[in-house]
């Protein structure tokens, strides 16, 4: 077990939620979905579980509200983004449930906050100059690309028609390939500071397999591809994040 398991849970589930919201905004369903509340609810639950998980990172979880005091700190910025995104997702959920759909503008605002949160989650580690493996520019794209890749893959599962849209499958293939590239760059950096990178490279291979699935889906969509996409994106990203947190000095 890694010492930073709560952070692993937070950035994986929170990042998955953020990625899903971005995918929802970028590739809305062509027709009114049967269960319009499903995606916002999924994103909200993922974010909630992730943020609950991060409490276990604190030695004094009961005092977590104190973590909002310093806006310059990465942890505080993550909390601000998480809270704002949570409120927006709740609004999306209520509107989708009551009216059958949510305003596009609101989805885009939530997607913008999600992108900021993905960036903040990565940048928080860049400022940790005491942890050489983390304090590198590659950390930000590792997190942002990983989050978007997971989100697109989950949207392929939740959305009825996403896989049938060529722009979606091509975008998914590109993002998964970029995510794999960030794992390669992070692995090279890990090697340069004497940190093991085997899991990062394993994540890279699995993520590339996901990109291949997306390419196949762009040519000939099939039902099995959504499951394969989410499995590859999730396993690949989780392997990379596990390797990342294993480099913690604590």
């Amino acid at each position: 077990m890694i010492s930073e398991f709560p952070l692993f849970i937070f950035t994986t589930l929170g990042g998955l939620s953020a990625g899903l919201v971005m995918a929802m905004a970028a590739f809305p369903p062509a027709e009114k979905p049967e269960r319009p509340w499903l995606a916002p609810l999924t994103a909200l639950v993922l974010l909630g579980v992730g943020m609950l998980g991060v409490l276990f990172h604190l030695k004094k979880p009961a005092l977590f509200l104190l973590a909002l005091r310093n806006p310059a700190a990465g942890i505080a910025q993550e909390a601000y983004c998480g809270i704002v995104l949570g409120v927006l997702l709740l609004a999306l959920l209520v509107m989708s449930w009551r009216k059958g759909e949510a305003p596009r503008a609101l989805t885009w605002i939530a997607a913008g906050v999600s992108l900021i949160m993905a960036f903040v989650m990565g940048f928080a580690y860049v400022t940790n100059v005491g942890t050489a493996a983390w304090a590198n520019w590659t950390t930000v794209p590792l997190f942002v690309a990983g989050d978007i890749a997971m989100g697109l893959a989950l949207w392929a599962v939740l959305s009825k028609d996403a896989l049938e849209k060529r722009p979606f499958t091509l975008a998914t293939a590109v993002v998964l390939a970029v995510s794999a590239a960030t794992m390669l760059l992070t692995g090279l950096h890990f090697g340069s500071v004497g940190q093991g990178a085997a899991l990062l490279y394993a994540g890279l291979a699995v993520t590339l397999a996901g990109a291949a699935v997306a390419v196949v889906a762009a040519k000939k969509p099939a039902a099995w591809q959504a499951g394969a996409l989410i499995a590859c994106a999730l396993i690949g990203t989780c392997l990379a994040r596990w390797a990342f947190y294993a480099a913690s000095i604590i």
């Binding site: 030695k59 104190l66 942890i75 940790n128």
Partner: protein
């Protein structure tokens, strides 16, 4: 304006561990908590690796390195560097890590929630300790200064430059027992202070300056 700092003369340090012991006692430090570690080094690359220490699991504190007749044995006392630009300050979400006007960086244990961000952000590994559980002590009685820092489970601790002593006109505890007179303390902005006088005309090294923290501890070479 006063800007406290310390100079440690590596030519005078004999690795006696008296500063580490004085720190431990004056601050009534629990088991497993250290503010000040005197490392043994078998090279003179001060930044790459601080070296070994019994408190960090080494068997002994006095093993020379290299091959005869070119043996190397150096001692490197390391504590919080009370940086001018502390990386721990930026990342502390609660504001528990604070920097006083006189440059002393300290942790308010009432605000600390034990997130360990400061530990991960600090380029000087090992200068901070996390009180994982309720502190345990070697003695049943409280030792040290009456106003020693509190020790509380779930909080991070580190060297305070003995601000409790400084505020009543004394010097840090690590200064008091240094048998080699290797440590110099005072106002870095005052050219007449002991620390400024010690640095004057000497070659010195500041640890891991590449991190951009601008430490206030000068190692005289």
């Amino acid at each position: 304006m006063t800007r406290y700092g310390m100079a440690i003369d590596l030519k005078r340090c004999v690795g006696c561990q008296a500063c580490a012991t004085a720190c431990k006692i004056a601050n009534n430090l629990p088991k497993d908590i250290v503010y000040n570690v005197v490392y043994t080094k078998t090279d003179r690359d001060w930044d790459a690796d601080f070296g070994t220490a019994v408190v960090r699991g080494a068997v002994a504190n006095d093993n020379a390195g290299g091959s005869f007749p070119n043996c190397v044995l150096e001692f490197l006392p390391v504590q919080c560097q009370h940086c001018e630009n502390p990386s721990c300050l930026r990342v502390c979400p609660t504001g528990a890590t604070q920097k006083r006007d006189d440059g002393i960086v300290w942790v308010d244990n009432e605000l600390c929630i034990g997130c360990a961000a400061c530990i991960m952000a600090c380029p000087y590994d090992g200068v901070r300790s996390m009180n994982e559980d309720e502190p345990e002590y070697y003695l049943d009685v409280t030792v040290g200064e009456y106003d020693a820092p509190a020790h509380e489970a779930g909080t991070v601790e580190k060297c305070t430059f003995c601000k409790n002593l400084i505020d009543r006109g004394e010097v840090p505890a690590c200064m008091q027992l240094c048998m080699g007179r290797a440590r110099f303390w005072g106002d870095l902005d005052d050219p007449e202070s002991a620390v400024s006088q010690a640095i004057e005309g000497r070659d010195y090294h500041k640890l891991r300056e590449g991190a951009g923290t601008d430490p206030s501890v000068y190692y005289l070479l």
